[in-house]
């Protein structure tokens, strides 16, 4: 039996970011390559959102488990920096899932992340852009903390990188 790359990508939908359980690895953009070699071996490339991300080992093991569950024995899951993750890689579906989860999606950027980009956030509760950043460092490496001047809520944003 041979599987297609699309099919494997579909299986990986069930693997979620352990710190943001509504977001699949596909939508997060950390699956950077799926390759089926002539021998049938499946190679999945992943890249961390942040170099020191402690969830990487868990995510890698989850990918291995999903491949195994679907009958792929000849497999390799690699963590590489060949493609460097950036927050523009989060899909539109992923951005919506983040907002629904109460976490503001990162503002899109042209790869120049400066203070203006970092401070820009839309409140995931009321949608207002009248917000200010409290601190660029949050409860996990990938989150910053903001305050909404409109509804008065404090919220977190997935950091633009």
């Amino acid at each position: 039996m041979t599987n297609s790359v699309e099919e494997i990508r579909e299986w990986l939908e069930e693997v979620k970011d352990p710190e943001i359980p509504v977001l699949s690895l596909n939508d997060l953009g950390v699956i950077t390559g799926i390759q089926i070699q002539d021998s049938g071996k499946v190679v999945v490339d992943m890249t961390p959102t942040f170099t020191g991300c402690p969830a990487m080992d868990v995510m890698k093991q989850d990918v291995v488990d999903v491949l195994t569950k679907n009958g792929i024995e000849d497999q390799e899951v690699r963590v590489t920096f060949e493609t460097q993750w950036n927050s523009n890689l989060i899909s539109d579906k992923g951005r919506k899932a983040l907002a629904d989860f109460g976490l503001a999606p990162p503002p899109k950027h042209n790869m120049v992340v400066d203070i203006d980009i970092i401070e820009r956030a839309s409140c995931p509760h009321c949608g207002s852009d009248n917000t200010e950043m409290n601190t660029p460092f949050g409860p996990t490496l990938c989150r910053s903390i903001h305050h909404c001047n409109n509804c008065g809520e404090t919220f977190e944003q997935f950091k633009p990188v």
């Binding site: 961390p48 170099t51 020191g52 402690p54 920096f81 460097q84 992340v113 660029p136 460092f137 949050g138």
Partner: protein
Amino acid sequence: MNVEALKDLLYKMADDQLVLGHRNSEWTGFGPLLEEDIAFSSMAQDKVGQSWQLYKILNELGENDPDTVAFMRNADQFHNCQFVELPNGEYDFSLIRHFLFDTAELLRFQFLSESSFEPLALLAKKIKGETKYHSMHANIWVKQLGSATEESVSRLQTSLNEALPYALGIFEESKFEDDLITSGIFKGEAVLKEAWMGEITKILNKSSLSLPDLTSIEPITGGRNGIHSEHLQPMLDEMSEVFKVDPTAEW
């Protein structure tokens, strides 16, 4: 490619990240305000994670595995500059060190993102994005506290004057400098230092702090060759205490 030169470069950078990362983590629970507590803890996690990836490249070049390298060496086997091993002191000293070191760190990884050694170039592209946050954090506080009250300005100025001889030690040259430059691996410490002086001058000029004449300061060196202050070994002992209880344990 001169592998010994490459290893020397990787070790000093990985050790800088690990040691300063550990020092930053000592602020956890002690920050002067909650946001700073989280900031230093977060930067600690970034830097330790970055050191791990640099040790992984070393591992691929034939060195021991990252945990063994990080936890089982003694101070004289570490190649970090002495600056990063100094105790945190008060917040003013930690902030000034954060500013002086991270400015150099950001420039270093920006340069290395064009390195001819591809695994390092790829990792550097990643690290420079993370370090940008660290550098922005330092710059904001130096500008704010460096022009706030008489006490904040004088505290930062005193720390700046104390830190500079150590900060200049970041750029201690190795015997492989020419190899690294000619092979396109790294532009070299002299070029980095020039760029660093430009950057710190730019930020300090936006505060009430003054930069002493750097040419009149004698750099404190030795760290790159395993010569350290009395502060490193006790820090390493504490850092590796749990690991050494059972080095073969699975985490």
